[in-house]
Every structure is written in C-alpha cells, then in structure tokens.
C-alpha cells in the first residue's frame, strides 16, 4: 500500500520531509508497500471481531443507549527507536520522582511554597488540595504509585509533556491488548523487528503494590466503581492478570480500624487497595455522602496507616493543570537537575498579563479548564466557530483562574489505516510509570490517534483510536 505524505511543516513518525523514510521504519515501510489493501482491511476486521469477543470495550458517558463500544484499533504500529526511548524513560522517571517529592512536601513542610517557587494560593485555594492528607506519613513517601504521563512530539521533533495523570490513569490494558493483537495479526513483523516486550506490566504492577505496604505478604485488591464504569474492562483485566480480587465498595467494610472484604469463607483483611475510584467517592463518611461506590470509614483506617491506597489520596493537586506549569521547577527544586522533558508553554489565565494575551489570541490557542479531563470542556481556537470563541471569552473573563491556554501544537503524525488508505494522523503517547522499590516503566505505552483528518483530539471519549507502540531494543552485535 502507498503511504500518503504528511502536509509541509509537520513532523511525521515514519516519513521524512521530501519523501524519505526514517531509518527505524525502513523495513516496515517495505513490508507495508507489499501489503494489499483488501488484505489489510481483512486483518483489521479480524481484530475488531476479536476485540468484541474478548469484550474489550468501553462505555461512553452520555450515550443514550449506554452502548459498549470498541476503541478503534489501528493496525499500523507507532515505532520508537531505542535512543529516543532512553531519553523519554529518563525524563519520565525524573518527572514522576519530582512529583512524588512535591506531594510529600505539600502535605508536610511545604518548602516549595515557603521558598516561593510556587505561589501558596495556587495550592491552598485549589479544590484538589486534600486537607485530610496534611501531616500523614505514607510508606516510602510514595504518593503516586502509578502515573500516566501524556507526551507529544512537536513539529521540531522533540518530546513535550502535555499532561500528568496521577490519580487513576487508565489505558494500560489497551497497551497490553494491542500488542497481543499485533502479534496475532502480523507475526512476521515481530520476526523482523526487535520489539521490546510489555507483557510483564501486570507483574511489575503487583510488585509495586506489594511494596507499597510494610505488611509481609499483603492482601492486595483492585477497587472498581463497577461494571458500568467506562474502564471496567481494564479493572477486571488487571485484577485477573495480577491474580488479586476485583472488589466493589459493597465488598469492603471497616471494622476494628481495619478494612475487610466479605468472602465466602468470612471476612478477610485487606492491606493494599489499588483504587480506580476518585477521592471524592472513596468514603461517604468523609467526602461525598451520596457516594455508594466507596467504603464508609475508609479514611480513618487510611489515616491510621492500616491500609494503603494506590494512588494516595490528594494526588490531584500535582496533576492539576494550574500546577502543571511548575513541574520543571519542581525537578530543579527537589532533584537539583535540569528537566529532561520540556513542558508545553502555558499561559496561566489567572495572571493578568497572560489573560490579556490569551483573550487577544483566542483563535490560535487551545484553552483548557484547569480541572477538566478527557478532552471535555476545552476550546481549540483554530477549529472553533466565532460563537464558541465568544462563549469562551465570556467564561475566561468570569473565572480566569479556572483556565490555562497553550499554543495549538502540531502533534506529530503517524501513518494510519483510514478510509482513504494509509494517511498521516496525529498521535500522542501515554507511558505508564510505576513507583515502588525503584521507578520502572515498561518500554512503550498507549499511543492514541486522532482518526479524523487534521484533528488533534486523541481522547477515546472523543472518537480517538489506539495503536500498538513499539519501542525497539538496541541490537547488540554478537
């Protein structure tokens, strides 16, 4: 099949400007050229059928029928050469380490505020700041055991961090299933490419969770909101892969200052909860009283240190979009290192200068709510209608501190199998960082792709798809 070239000025993962092909895609390019479109379409159909059968679906909120949908899977891999991955890996580990330091500091002595690196009001007036965490010591001072860092490549070819996800990052099951699918569909490619394996992620995750408590031989569970949650498939998959119980709030109870689960053999003590429920819903006695998802009394057990939550409560203060601009400063402050990975330039609308710049340039900026997630509640200036821009202008003026703005990035593109053939589509990357005894990252992550031509929104809730991510291993000559 022929690969359509990207527009001028774009960075493409596979093609060079002027019709060349990047070194690490050369073999693949030759293989792709020899593929027949009908054959590839057939493979894709096979993948859809398999995904459906295995039940790898997600629920779209607001969908009237509550229908379960497949996240579109693209059969063309995103390939990352070994040297680039090494830089990413170093940068990600460094960043998450700094974020953990920040969380510990914020909930203890607050050096970073006292030295004026971050304005105090940015933390204390933030709804994500969790007063219940103040002064609480956690095992190994780890707050975010599992982090998903969204990374994009700009048209200068450099990686930038777009967003940190430190609460309940999801998507890792797609990383694992996409690989299984690719190996099933195209075994011949894996013979040609030294693709670094990712299948050991669940065992690393279990190791991380077991290390999160001082208890010997701890009982670990995964806490899910239930099967109507959009990521239920992932919760069940991870629990099964780790060989631990998948529990719902109703399965747990607090008794004698410990958390127990109800089993057919009576009550069993729980030591570590890998929770996939937001802070607000964890304990109806402490937070939202209307939550039926949580466990009454959980917070008091947590504060006594008799149960570990992964991730900890209150991590949202570190991945909030209003704190994001300060992450490079955190790296310098806590680690005395220069950040390996850059941020995307961000205007903070709470600053009058930034606000007036943003208001003057709305048509070319991306404006986001500081607490928003999932691609909801954002304005993409160049794609917006005049009415939408005016609506955001009013919202910005009314509550400037609730917004940040960033330049419209040209996310790098990657050849993708769409209706018109193989054409460039914009992608990002979410690698998963595990913090336990050491910081570990399986080589790869979830590559999300915006399937509509020119679109920059890769969120699955907004019609994005996924790709398998191949990190190549360095082939050492014998």
């Amino acid at each position: 099949m022929k690969v359509r070239p990207p527009g001028p000025g774009h960075y493409d993962e596979m093609l060079l400007a002027g019709n060349g092909i990047r070194e690490h895609y050369r073999d693949y390019g030759q293989w792709l050229e020899s593929c027949d479109e009908a054959w590839l379409a057939q493979r894709r159909q096979e993948a859809d059928l398999l995904f459906h059968r295995v039940g790898i679906t997600f629920t779209v909120y607001g969908d009237e029928q509550g229908a379960e949908r497949l996240i579109p899977f693209d059969a063309l891999p995103r390939i990352i050469p070994a040297q680039e991955w090494q830089v990413l890996e170093r940068g990600l580990a460094q960043r998450v380490q700094a974020l953990n330091h920040f969380l510990h500091d914020i909930y203890h002595e607050q050096h970073i505020l006292r030295e004026g690196v971050i304005p105090s009001e940015q933390v204390f007036t933030n709804t994500q700041y969790q007063l219940a965490m103040q002064g609480l010591d956690l095992p190994h001072d780890i707050y975010t055991h599992i982090a998903g860092i969204d990374v994009i490549r700009n048209n200068d070819g450099r990686f930038h961090v777009l967003e940190d996800n430190l609460r309940c990052p999801s998507g890792v099951s797609y990383m694992l299933q996409n690989r299984i699918m690719m190996m099933r569909l195209f075994p011949e490619l894996f013979a040609r490419y030294p693709v670094a394996p990712v299948a050991h992620y669940p065992s690393l995750l279990l190791d991380t969770l077991r290390h999160a408590t001082p208890v010997d031989n701890p009982c670990v569970v995964v806490l899910t909101p239930g099967r109507y949650n959009s990521a239920y498939y992932e919760h069940a998959f991870l629990a099964q892969q780790m060989g631990v119980e998948l529990v719902e709030g109703v399965d747990l109870l607090v008794k004698n200052e410990h958390v127990y689960m109800r089993t057919t053999a009576g009550l069993q003590q729980v030591d570590v909860i890998y929770r996939r429920i937001d802070d607000d819903f964890l304990d109806p006695l402490a937070f939202r009283a209307d939550s039926s998802l949580g466990v009454p009394g959980l917070l008091s057990v947590y504060r006594k240190g008799n149960v570990v939550l992964a991730n900890a409560m209150g991590t949202g203060i570190a991945d909030d979009k209003s704190i994001y601009p300060y992450v490079p400063d955190m790296v310098r402050f806590y680690l005395s290192e220069e950040p390996v990975l850059e941020n995307v330039h961000t205007w903070q609308c709470r600053r009058p200068d930034d606000l007036s710049y943003v208001l003057d340039n709305l048509h070319e900026l991306v404006v986001k709510e500081t607490h928003g997630a999932g691609g909801y509640g954002m304005l993409i200036g160049p794609k917006a209608t005049q009415a939408e821009i005016e609506e955001f202008r009013a919202r910005l003026k009314a509550a400037p501190h609730e917004y940040i703005a960033q330049p419209t990035l040209s996310l790098s593109s990657c050849p993708t199998f769409v209706e018109e053939g193989v054409a460039p589509r914009h992608i990002d990357l979410r690698p998963f960082v595990l913090c336990g005894r050491e910081t570990r990252i399986v080589p790869g992550g979830l590559t999300r792709v915006a399937l509509r031509d020119g679109s920059l929104v890769v969120n699955s809730s907004q019609g994005g798809g996924t790709k398998d991510t191949w990190v190549l291993e360095e082939v050492t000559p014998c």
Partner: protein, 310 residues
C-alpha cells in the same frame, strides 16, 4: 472468594442451565406438535406450569397457541424466563465476575450473547425453531466444556457447578411434578397415544436413549419416575443432582454454609437410600412437593451462607 462474585458465578450458571432446560422442554413440545396427535392445550399448559410463568403469559396473551408460546419462551423481552433474558442474565453475571472466569469462558458466553442479539432480529416460528434450540444447547455445552477445560479448581469452579446442579434439580423436580399430576396406575404400560407424551418427557431431559438402554422397551410411569429420581448414573436425576450439590459444598472452604451442607447431605441420603416403594406409599405428587421444598431450602441456605454480603 468474594461473596458478590460467588453470587455472580452461581447465577451465571443457573441462568445458562435454565436456558438449556427451557429449550429442551420447548423442543419436545414442538416435536409433539408435528406428530399426528399434535400438541394439545395440556402440553402448552404444562410448559407454563413447569416454568412458573403462567400468569406472565396470560397477562400478555389471550389464547394458548404454539407460535405465541414459542415466541414467549424464546425472544420475549418482557418474559423474565425467556431464553433471551436467561442468556442476557448469564452474560451480565459473567461480565460482573469477568476477573474470575477464564478468557475462553468469557469469550464463549459473550459471543453467545452477541449472537443472541442478532438472532433476535429474525422471526422465530415452528419452521426454524429447531435450529435455534440446537444452537442454545450447543452454546451451553460449549460453555460447560470451556469451563471444564480451562478454569482452576478453586471455589469459583465450585460455585459455578453449584448453580448448575441446583437449577437442574429444581427443573427435574418441576417436570416430574407437572407430568405426573394425574397418573393413577404407575405400573401399567402407557397407551400408544400416551407413549408419545412419555417419550417426549424423556427426551425433554435428554433421557430417552438412556431409558432405552436401562429399561428396554416398555414405558411405565413408575420406571420413568424412578429414572428421574433415583438413578445413580443419570446426570439429570435428582439423586445425581443432590450427590453433586452435597459433594460440591463439602469442597467449599469455611463454616459459612453449614446449614446448606447439612440439608444437602440429608436430602442426598434420602435419595441414595430411597426406593420407589416409599415414593408410591406417600404418593408421587406429595413426595415431589416435599422434594421441591427441600431443594428450595437448600438454595436459600446457599444464598444466606455464601452469597449475601454479611
């Protein structure tokens, strides 16, 4: 294991077994309707009686006719006992216990459900019902095979099998009690006209071939009853079901289900050391009423001991 998950697994297999049993009943009713004697109102009534769905049917239908009954039992969304709903509930329970069943089991039950939704878009009638019945039985066999071949022999497996046998025991007892309602002489060979009814009954529990092999020739109500109640080697007899239930419960760890363990062992002993003479002495309908009540009690004790959150 988690009580909630045990509940899901138990009901997953109960609903699947219920779908299979319903299909067997429909299958013979439909077959009888093709014979010269035809299916009469009694047969259709018996179907509603056995499944306990008479009032549900009557609330939406005026007449009792085979095509309507077929639709009611297969595709009717409003009928909680329809095959459609049984498969939906089985799949929903499997979905909730996704983490405790193997990928093969999940794929089997999920694709059954996806296929069911597709089949529901097509009309079902006397002309194509057989293919549908065969399909349901096949899917049930496939799931059982996937379970048998892939799952670890932990408590999860025990609760899955428990659901199967509690449902099956209940079903066998219901079939017997409806069909034996008005028999006067249990030892007289049945008339030619009735023969169809009796062979149909045997077929409805998949016992026709086994009966021929065990008893050869003559069909008498007493022998049919004996087979379905006491045979130690027929996998749908009450004795077999209770043997299974009692020995499964023994394997489940903990003291939570002592009542269920005791009741099932007691009932099994009665069947294991029982005889048709005892049955006839109290009268078959009365004996069966007692059995059904005991099976319901065991189901209750299982629910209280294991499945309900404390």
């Amino acid at each position: 294991m988690l009580s909630r998950i045990a509940d899901n697994l138990y009901w997953m297999s109960r609903y699947l077994e219920r779908a299979e049993n319903t299909v067997r009943l429909l299958d013979v009713t439909q077959t009888v309707s093709l014979m010269p004697v035809g299916a009469n109102q009694d047969d259709l009534n018996a179907l509603l009686e056995i499944s306990g769905l008479r009032s549900g049917y009557q609330s939406s239908h005026h007449a009792l006719a085979l095509p309507d009954v077929l639709k009611f039992f297969t595709m009717d969304e409003a009928n909680p006992g329809s095959i459609y709903n049984c498969l939906r509930m089985a799949r929903d329970n499997a979905h909730a216990a996704r983490g405790k069943i193997t990928a093969e089991m999940w794929e089997s039950i999920n694709s059954t459900w996806l296929d069911m939704r597709l089949r529901r878009t097509r009309e079902i009638g006397v002309w194509n019902a057989n293919a549908f019945f065969d399909w349901v039985k096949e899917r049930s066999h496939l799931f059982r095979g996937a379970t048998y071949g892939t799952i670890m022999r932990t408590d999860a497996y025990q609760f899955i099998r428990l659901g199967t046998f509690v449902e099956r025991a209940d079903n066998s007892a219901r079939i017997l009690s409806v069909k034996f309602h008005r028999i006067e002489d249990y030892d007289r060979p049945v008339s030619v006209a009735d023969l169809y009814q009796w062979t149909a009954l045997l077929r409805s529990v998949g016992a026709f071939e086994a009966y021929q092999e065990m008893y050869r020739g003559e069909v008498t109500p007493a022998k049919v009853a004996e087979m379905l109640i006491f045979r130690p080697d027929f996998p749908r007899s009450l004795r077999w079901c209770l043997d299974s239930i009692a020995s499964i419960l023994v394997k489940i760890r903990g003291d939570a289900g002592l009542a269920a363990k005791r009741q099932s062992a007691e009932l099994f002993a009665r069947l294991n050391y029982g005889h048709m003479d005892d049955v006839l002495a109290v009268g078959l309908p009365e004996y069966l009423q007692g059995l059904m009540a005991d099976i319901a009690d065991i189901g209750d004790s299982i629910r209280k001991g294991y499945l309900e959150a404390v």
